[in-house]
Assembly symmetry: C2
Homo-oligomer: 453 residues x 2
């Protein structure tokens, strides 16, 4: 019976009359058309129970041999999970079914036949290696676990757009094919651009800064590309970045925005995704207070006081952070200017202890990182808006003025003071849902080993 | 005086208290802080009128010499347009000012100084070559004309997302770095992907089709990349594509969706952008009836009857279309299968006149193009969901099964019947606002000649 060839039907003029969530008291005893794929089946010989899944959930189909033609009954009986079918049938009450109703088919169309058994169950959480799942990602994404993750991803995107629009930000799009490295030298993917070399943008940084001239408050939600040769559970070669930039504010304002934005996102998930959270077994982070803020220098001092080996000016490894911070959101602020890109504004020297020495190795920057445990979610700063200062800083970082001429020329026309941040969508999703692997926070991950599907 | 060096101030703790639109009766005689850039000035010797522009419009500042320190007055007098300033001052009524109020400054901060005069006025519509404008795009985008265009672009994006969400579509993101040409052989940008060759996606086609398995109704709004060596006013190398795909429907359903989507977009612009439309001098297209639909074969017959030289199977040039259609939206449907990509479903042969000859050169496809005048805005079709048919079609088009293995393997698990379309955002904006050049429908255009800014 397993090898029986089942003919597929054309969709023809059959269309769904009701989604699963619309099968309710109001349609009892009516004939409806439901369409979807088979998420599970129970075979009791002359009776089959089929769970038919659509975008919103399952509808139970009760298939009795004596009430359908033998061909159709036998076809349904031998259909594998994942096959798509359409059912015209009558809605009846069924106290034992999960949504209290079931459908007694009168006509059936088999729309698409699954010829193989998927190597994982839709009910499974992660019983199998991620590479096997990713090789069949389209089917993997049918799993309840990922369905919940991506429903919440959708809430995050919508709530971020809503929050930013309500705060007078306008959505922009900046080019992904660019002439020069935005941040100088970091890992870039080269492109053949007609007869020239170009690169994939690793961030919309310079463009979003320029756009504050014309639109003041801008945001972009778009892919960024980083040729990081690392094999970790928290890096992607292609990721979605939420980039926000605002004129006439500084990094402290942007920290407030980011804090409120995350708060709004969590609140939206709390309102819209109780079912998904329950199914994932996730408690949302406590959002009763603003995120704590610690300066880089204070953190280094604390680490040194607990006998960790670290010098002022060093990056702080995830391992060290893990020893200090639990699973919570917090800001590390005022990083050494030397650790930040050329466009980041330095703090005024007279605020520093060694301002009189002329030594600028201890210059701080108006910058912050938003962390969750040891995971960096976002970086932000006040940006340099004065051309002379910007050119000085580029020189310090060894960047060619000529290569950035297209950017520098804008500064002749009065770029407003501005500040902003970039926030990684997949990492935010990882943090909120406590996902182990960033690959499950995106549809089709890209990394050093994976370019397909 | 023009060469006087004007010192810039730090923003410090100054923040805007009111946007221009918030300067109203409710704040008369109050001291407010307004911040923005100088969009125009009139100098009457001891009195200056400064238009201070923020994201929402202009506020008039009345600067009297005798009421400010001489240094500040002289600085303001010599400041060029585009410079950014902050004003603390009192709101007074002024019947002659455009928004009925003006501000008498008590304190002034000069935040950013424009050292050059821009080669175009913010009031100008297009007095200057587009290349000069694009070289200074950030300043160009301050022009009223483009501000209006991009406000409407924002309405289009928001209304499309709103419409699709209301119709149970979920937003997805698909990889832009891919292993093989989606549509086979068309102009692609190659990338160095670590040690391999890869390409920039010219469309999310295969991915969005796969995603109908897990999410049924999906859309993506994201950049697409086409290495078209053409120099025209309607092609970009990087454009925003609105991609929509839906399970369990065919191309006729998707035409209805697209028709309604455009209708909803136009209605949203009509509700939200009257001021911008007026300023642009644009009448929105008449949307009282659904768009007309003509089959490819009928159109060819009509053209032949009007003595145009064209054969069945030929593409239809913009020039020929221009002779038949005015500035209106319409669909051309049922294109020859030979003109469409491998994933497009053919119409059932028994519907064709020459179904019995076995000759498939006249096979039609379940496809449509949405046109506006001679401009193609969108292409859509029913897709092939059966693996054997898809492989046959790939063979016919000379594509390697092996190169698409990562895609074909999904079809072993029952891909649902589905249909969809891609819609070009910039072209839609061009059509609605009757823009001459597609470059003005995007922030930073990319073409064969332009990679910066």
């Amino acid at each position: 019976m397993e090898d029986k060839i089942i003919a597929e039907n054309e969709l023809g003029d059959w269309r769904r009359s009701h989604y699963s969530f619309q099968i309710s008291n109001s349609v009892i005893n009516q004939v409806v058309t439901v369409i979807g794929w088979i998420s599970s089946r129970r075979d009791h010989g002359n009776v089959l129970f089929v769970q038919l899944r659509d975008r919103f959930g399952d509808t139970q189909i009760l298939v009795k041999k004596k009430e359908l033609s033998e061909t159709i009954f036998e076809s349904l009986k031998s259909l594998k999970e994942h096959s798509s079918i359409a059912i015209r049938g009558r809605v009846v009450e069924q106290k034992n079914s999960s949504n209290e109703f079931e459908i007694m088919p009168e006509e059936v169309k088999i729309l698409s036949v699954s010829n193989k058994s998927a190597p994982f169950l839709t009910q499974a959480i992660s019983s199998i290696g991620i590479d096997t799942r990713l090789d069949l990602r389209a089917i993997d994404l049918r799993r309840n676990h990922l369905q919940n993750v991506f429903k919440i991803r959708n809430t995050i995107l919508n709530s971020i757009r809503g929050y930013l629009s309500d705060n007078y930000f306008v959505e922009v799009n900046t080019p992904k094919m660019i002439a020069t490295a935005t941040e100088g030298g970091a890992a870039l993917f080269p492109i053949f651009y007609y007869d020239r070399e170009a690169f994939l943008a690793q961030s919309p940084q310079l463009y979003k800064e320029q756009l504050t001239m014309a639109f003041e408050n801008v945001f972009e939600i778009a892919p960024i590309f980083r040729a990081e040769p690392s094999r970790t559970n928290r890096h992607l070669s292609e990721a979605m970045s939420i980039d926000v930039e605002k004129a006439y504010v500084d990094y402290n304002d942007m920290m407030d925005y980011l804090d409120n934005l995350i708060r709004f996102v969590i609140q939206s998930i709390n309102e819209k995704n109780q079912m998904e959270l329950k199914s994932l077994g996730i408690d949302l982070p406590d959002m009763s207070r603003p995120f704590s803020r610690i300066t880089y220098s204070q953190l280094i001092e604390n680490l040194q006081n607990s006998h960790k080996y670290i010098r002022w000016g060093d990056d702080i490894s995830p391992k060290l952070l893990k020893d200090v911070f639990g699973d919570e959101f917090y800001f590390i602020t005022d990083w050494p200017a030397s650790t930040k890109p050329f466009y980041v504004k330095s703090k005024k020297m007279d605020l520093l202890t060694d301002s009189n020495t002329g030594d600028d190795s201890h210059v701080l920057s108006e910058s912050f990182d938003l962390m969750y445990g040891s995971l960096e979610l976002s970086s932000g700063s006040t940006r340099i808006n004065n051309k002379v200062n910007l050119m000085d800083n580029m020189k310090k970082k060894g960047l060619s003025h000529k290569a950035f001429d297209y950017h520098l020329r804008v500064f002749d026309y009065g770029v407003p003071p501005h500040a902003g941040f970039g926030l990684g969508l997949e990492r935010l999703l990882m943090a909120i849902l406590k996902l182990d692997n960033i690959r499950d926070a995106t549809f089709y991950p890209r990394d050093i080993d994976r370019l397909t599907p």
